[in-house]
Subunit: 573 residues, 2 copies
C-alpha cells in the first residue's frame, strides 16, 4: 500500500486553493450549526451525557479527513449506531454509571480497531453479506424502535425497553404520569419539524426564494427549534414545571481518555462492536457511494474501513462514542458546497469552539426538543414498502426483510440483524442445495439448447441432455446423484447422458466424488457420461485429477457439438 | 405420509418366507457374537458402564427394524458417536456419577427426538451441508483421538483429556506408572488384531478355505481374543496384579428408565445432541447407501431419520446411550447374509440372552482387550491421504479438511466439526462473492461463445459480451457493479453491453437493484444493456418487476442472436 493510498488527503491537499477554502469554510459553518442538536440528541439516544455527542464530532472528523476517500462524507454519531451502542453498553452496565460511559468508549475503540484490521486485510467485501433487504428491514425496524423510545421524552415519563413490546408496555404503564408542560413542548416540536421537512421549502420558493436557498433554509428547522424552545424554557421556567432539560454540560474540550483494558469486558463487547462496525460501515459506504456518484468521484471501500477505523479510535481517546458516516449530516455538508474533507476539519474546529464557549447556553434546552429532532429524523428512514416490493419479487427476499424487521422489533436490534443475515445466507444455501435441473433439447434452426418444458425443441431418446443450474458443491452433490438416478429409471433406451455445464462454476471435492459415483453407476448400466461447455477454471481443476481418465464419455466444447457427434448420422440445418 | 411409507417393514414382512428366515437367523447368531466386545468397548469409550453397550444393542435394533429403510444396516453404539457422547456428557457431569449416566440417556432421547422431528419435516438434506472433506477429516481426527485415548488402558495408567495435546501430556506424565502385566495383555492383543485384520484371511485361503469363509473367520478375531484373554486373566489371577477387568456386570435386562426432565440440563445438552444426531445420521446413511447399492436396493434418507430417531428414543428408555448405524457391524451383518431387518430383531434377542445369562462370564475380561479392539477398529478409519488428495484438487477443500482435522485434534470433537462446516460454507460463499466474469466472443464457425482469454474468438469493439459465472445475489451484487464500471472505463467505442446469463441461476432483490443501477449508469453514458440466455425461472421473476420496462436494451434467446442482431450487417457462417 503506497503512502498516497494510505493518505488520500495528499491528493486533494496538493490542489487546494483559495476558492476551495472558501467553499469548505462556508460549508463548515453551516454544518457546525446543524450538527449541534443532532450530536446532542444521538448521545442521549445512546444513553450517554449530551456532551459526548459533541466530543465525538471533533477528533473523528479530523481522523476521517486524513484517511477517508469520500470528499463530502460527514462523520459523527448517527441514529442506528447510537441505538446499537445503547443496546451493547446496556448489557454490561447501568445507564448513567461511569462503567456505561467506559463501555461506550471501549465500543468505539474496539470498533475502530476492527475496522482498521478489516481495512488492512482488505475485508471490505464482508459488508456485501448484508443483503439489501436485510439492511432495509433493519433500518426500518430500528427507526421504529428509536422513534418509540423517544416518545417518553415527549410525554415526560420514564419508560425503557430494548424492543417494541417492552417499550410499548412501559409507555402504556406510564400514561397516567404524563407531564403536560413537556407535552406542550414536545408535540408542537414534532409537528413543527414535520412541517419544516415537508412544507417549508415549497413555501419559501413560493415566497420568491431560490430553490436551493429554500432547501438549505428548511434544513435550519432543528436549529431554530433549539433556539426557540431553549428561550421558552428559560423565560417560562419550564424546568421547575417538570420539563426535563439538558442541564449542565461541562465547558471545555474533552480530556484525552485511556480506555480501560479489561480482557473480560472487551470479550463481552467485541461481538457487539463487530456488528456495530459492519453496520456503520455499510451505512457510511452507501452514503459515500451515492454522493461520490453525483460528482463523478469514487470512494474505495477498503480505504473507507481505514478512515472510519481511525475516526472511531480518535473518538474513543477523546471521550466519545462510536461514529460513522451519517446520511443526513453528509447531505447537509454536500448541499452546503463542501469540496474536500477540509470542510470536516473546519467543522471539527467549530464544534470545538462550541464545546469551549457555548455549552452553558444549552442548560435550558428541553430534552423533548432533542427527542422531537430524533423522531422526525428516524421516521424518514422507515420504509415499510420494502415488504411489498420484496413480496412481489421473491419469497426468500421477503422472508429476509420480514425476519429482520420482526426479530428487530420483538427481540432487539442485535438479534434482528444477526437473524436477518443468517436467514438470507441460509435461504441462499437452501436454494443452491436443491438446484433447478433442466432436461434440454435443441431449439430448431439454432445451435442453442433449452429446457424441453419451456421451448419447442428437438430431442433424441438415446441421449439425455441435462443442464444443472448451479455450481456442483457439497450441499447439492447428493441431490444431483439422486435426481440423475431417478431420471435413469424413467428412460430405457438411454445410451448417453450429457451434463451441459454452462451454469457449473465450480466442482468441489464432494461433487467430484459424486460425479465419479454417477460415472461408475452409469457405466454399469451401459450408459456413457459426457460433459459439455465446461468452463475454463473448472476444466483446469478436473485436469488435476484422474476423473477425466475414468470418464466413460467425452468432454465437448459445446452442447451442440456433443449431440451432433453422439447422434452420429443425424445432421441439423 | 402413508402407513406403508412410515413402516417400511410392511414391505418385506409380506414376502417373508422360510429361506429368508434361515438366512436372517444365521446372520443374527454371527452378529450377536461379534457385537458383544464392540458394544462393551464403545460403552467404555463413552465413559459409561460396560452393560450400557449391551442395553443399547437390544431395543434400538427392534425400533430400527420397524421404521428403517435399509435391509442390512446394523444399529448400535459406534465409535464416533460414543466419543461425542463422552465429550457432551463430560461437560455436565463427572464420569462414573449417576448424573453422567443420566446425561447419556438424555442425549439419546434428545437425539432421537431431533432425528424424528427432522424426519417429519423432511430435513434429511441438512446433512448435505457436511461436505465430504469435513466428514473425512472429522472421522480421521476422531479416530486418532479415540486411539490415543485408549492407550491408557493398554499401559494400565490413568490419563484423560478431550484433545490430542491434553491426552498426550497426560500419557507422558504417567509413563513411570505403567503396569507391566496390563502391557503384557494389551500389546499382544493389538498386534494380534492387526494381524487378524491383515494377514489371517489370506493365510486361511492358502490353507484351503474358501475366500468368503476365510474373510468371515478372520472377523471372529476379536471374539477369540476376548475368550483367550478372559481365560488368561482368570487362570493367572491378573486382576490381583493390577490388570483392570470389566468386573461385575449386572445380570438381567435393562429396566425401563424415564429420562429426567430438567429444562436446564436439556438446554445444555441440546446443541451436542443435534451435532451427534447429524453426524450419526450422515455416517449411517452413507453406510446404508453403500450396502443398498451392492444389492440394487434403495434407502430413503428422510425415512432413515425416523428409523434412527426411533432407535435412539428406544435406547434412552431402556438405559442405553446414543446409537446409529455403524460401519463395521453393518458389514458383518451384510456379509453374514442378513436379508431383512428381522436379522436385527434376532440379534436383539441374542444380546438380550447374553444380558440375561452370560454377563458373569465377562467379569475377568481385561479392559486392555476392549481397548485393543477399539484401537484397531478406529485406526482403520484414519485416512490422512485425504489431505494430499484435496491439496492437489483445490485449496478450499484442503482448507476444510485441514481445519476440521486441526481443530478436532487441538480443541476437541464438537468444535472441530463445527469449524469444518463453517469453514466449508464460508469458503463457498467467499467464492461466490467474487465470481469469475469472462469477456466472451464467438468461436468461429459456431454459434458458441467463449472466454476471449482462453479461445480464439471473434469480437466486436462496439459490443461487450460478459458472462458472469455465478448467480447474482446479495454477496456479489456490489462486486458486479464495480467490475462492470471498471470495464466501461477501459472501452471507449462501446455501444452495447450484453450480459450472457447462462450461469445466472438466480437474480435476487439486491442484485436486481444493482442491475437497475448498472442500467441507469450505462444509459447515462449512451450505452445500452442487453441480456441473453436468461433461464426460465429467472425470467419469470424479472417479469414480476418493472425492470424489463426500464431496460435500455433487449432480452435475447441466445448470445448468438443478440450479437447477430446488434452487429447488424455482419453475418457469420
Amino acid at each position: 500500500m503506497s503512502v498516497r493510498e494510505l493518505f488520500p488527503c495528499a491528493e486533494w491537499l496538493r490542489r487546494y486553493d483559495r476558492g476551495i477554502l472558501i467553499s469548505d469554510l462556508i460549508a463548515a459553518v453551516i454544518v457546525t450549526i446543524m450538527l449541534i442538536p443532532q450530536s446532542l440528541a444521538y448521545a442521549l439516544l445512546a444513553g450517554l451525557p449530551a456532551e459526548v455527542g459533541l466530543y465525538a464530532s471533533i477528533l473523528p472528523l479530523v481522523a476521517y479527513a486524513a484517511f477517508g476517500t469520500s470528499r463530502t462524507l460527514a462523520v459523527g454519531p448517527v441514529a442506528v449506531v447510537s441505538l446499537l451502542t445503547a443496546a451493547a453498553a446496556g448489557k454490561v452496565a447501568q445507564q448513567g454509571s461511569p462503567e456505561y460511559m467506559m463501555a461506550a468508549i471501549i465500543l468505539a475503540l474496539l470498533s475502530g480497531l476492527l475496522l482498521l484490521a478489516m481495512g488492512v486485510l482488505r475485508l471490505g467485501m464482508l459488508a456485501n453479506f448484508l443483503a439489501h433487504p436485510v439492511i432495509a428491514g433493519f433500518i426500518t425496524a430500528s427507526g421504529i424502535i428509536i422513534a418509540v423510545s423517544q416518545v417518553r421524552h415527549i410525554l415526560g415519563v420514564e419508560a425503557h425497553g430494548e424492543n417494541l413490546l417492552d417499550l410499548s408496555m412501559a409507555l402504556y404503564g406510564h400514561l397516567g404520569q404524563i407531564n403536560l408542560p413537556t407535552l406542550a413542548v414536545g408535540v408542537p416540536a414534532v409537528v413543527f419539524l414535520f412541517w419544516v421537512r415537508g412544507g417549508l421549502a415549497p413555501l419559501l420558493v413560493r415566497l420568491g426564494l431560490g430553490r436551493e436557498v429554500a432547501a438549505m433554509a428548511a434544513k435550519t428547522g432543528p436549529v431554530v427549534l433549539v433556539i426557540v424552545t431553549t428561550l421558552a424554557a428559560w423565560l417560562l421556567g419550564l424546568g421547575e414545571r417538570g420539563v426535563a432539560l439538558v442541564g449542565d454540560v461541562p465547558v471545555g474540550l474533552p480530556a484525552l481518555t485511556v480506555p480501560d483494558f479489561s480482557l473480560e469486558l472487551w470479550g463481552e463487547l467485541v461481538g457487539s462492536a463487530l456488528l456495530l462496525s459492519i453496520i456503520g460501515f455499510v451505512e457510511s459506504v452507501s452514503v459515500g457511494h451515492t454522493l461520490a456518484a453525483k460528482r463523478r468521484q469514487r470512494i474505495s471501500p477498503n480505504q473507507e474501513l481505514i478512515g472510519l477505523g481511525a475516526a472511531n479510535v480518535a473518538s474513543s481517546v477523546s471521550g466519545g462514542m462510536p461514529v460513522t458516516g451519517g446520511f443526513s449530516r453528509s447531505v447537509v455538508n454536500f448541499d452546503a458546497g463542501a469540496q474536500t474533507p477540509a470542510a470536516g476539519v473546519f467543522t471539527a474546529a467549530g464544534i470545538a469552539l462550541v464545546a469551549l464557549f457555548l455549552t452553558p447556553l444549552l442548560f435550558y434546552l428541553p430534552r423533548a426538543t432533542l427527542a422531537a429532532t430524533i423522531i422526525v429524523a428516524v421516521l424518514s428512514l422507515v420504509d415499510l414498502k420494502i415488504l411489498k416490493r420484496t413480496w412481489t419479487y421473491s419469497l426468500s427476499d421477503f422472508a429476509a426483510v420480514a425476519t429482520t424487521i420482526g426479530v428487530t422489533l420483538l427481540l432487539g436490534v442485535e438479534l434482528g440483524v444477526l437473524c436477518g443475515v443468517l436467514a438470507s445466507i441460509g435461504m441462499h444455501l437452501y436454494k443452491t442445495a436443491k438446484p433447478h435441473i433442466a432436461v434440454v433439447g435443441q431449439v430448431p434452426g439454432t445451435e442453442h439448447f433449452r429446457n424441453v418444458n419451456r421451448h419447442e425443441v428437438i430431442t433424441d431418446p438415446r441421449i439425455l441432455s441435462l443442464r444443472v443450474d448451479e455450481s456442483l458443491y457439497f450441499a447439492n452433490s447428493n441431490y444431483l446423484e439422486d435426481r440423475v438416478y431417478k431420471m435413469l429409471a424413467e428412460r430405457q433406451e438411454l445410451e448417453h447422458v450429457i451434463l451441459q455445464c454452462t451454469a457449473v462454476n465450480e466442482i468441489d471435492f464432494s461433487a467430484l466424488e459424486s460425479l465419479e459415483a454417477i460415472n461408475t453407476r452409469l457405466q454399469e448400466a451401459g450408459i456413457r457420461l459426457h460433459l459439455s461447455e465446461v468452463k475454463g477454471p473448472v476444466m483446469d481443476m478436473l485436469k488435476r485429477t484422474d476423473f477425466l481418465e475414468h470418464l466413460s464419455g467425452e468432454v465437448y466444447l459445446s452442447q451442440y457439438q456433443a449431440v451432433k457427434a453422439l447422434s452420429g448420422e443425424r445432421e441439423e440445418r
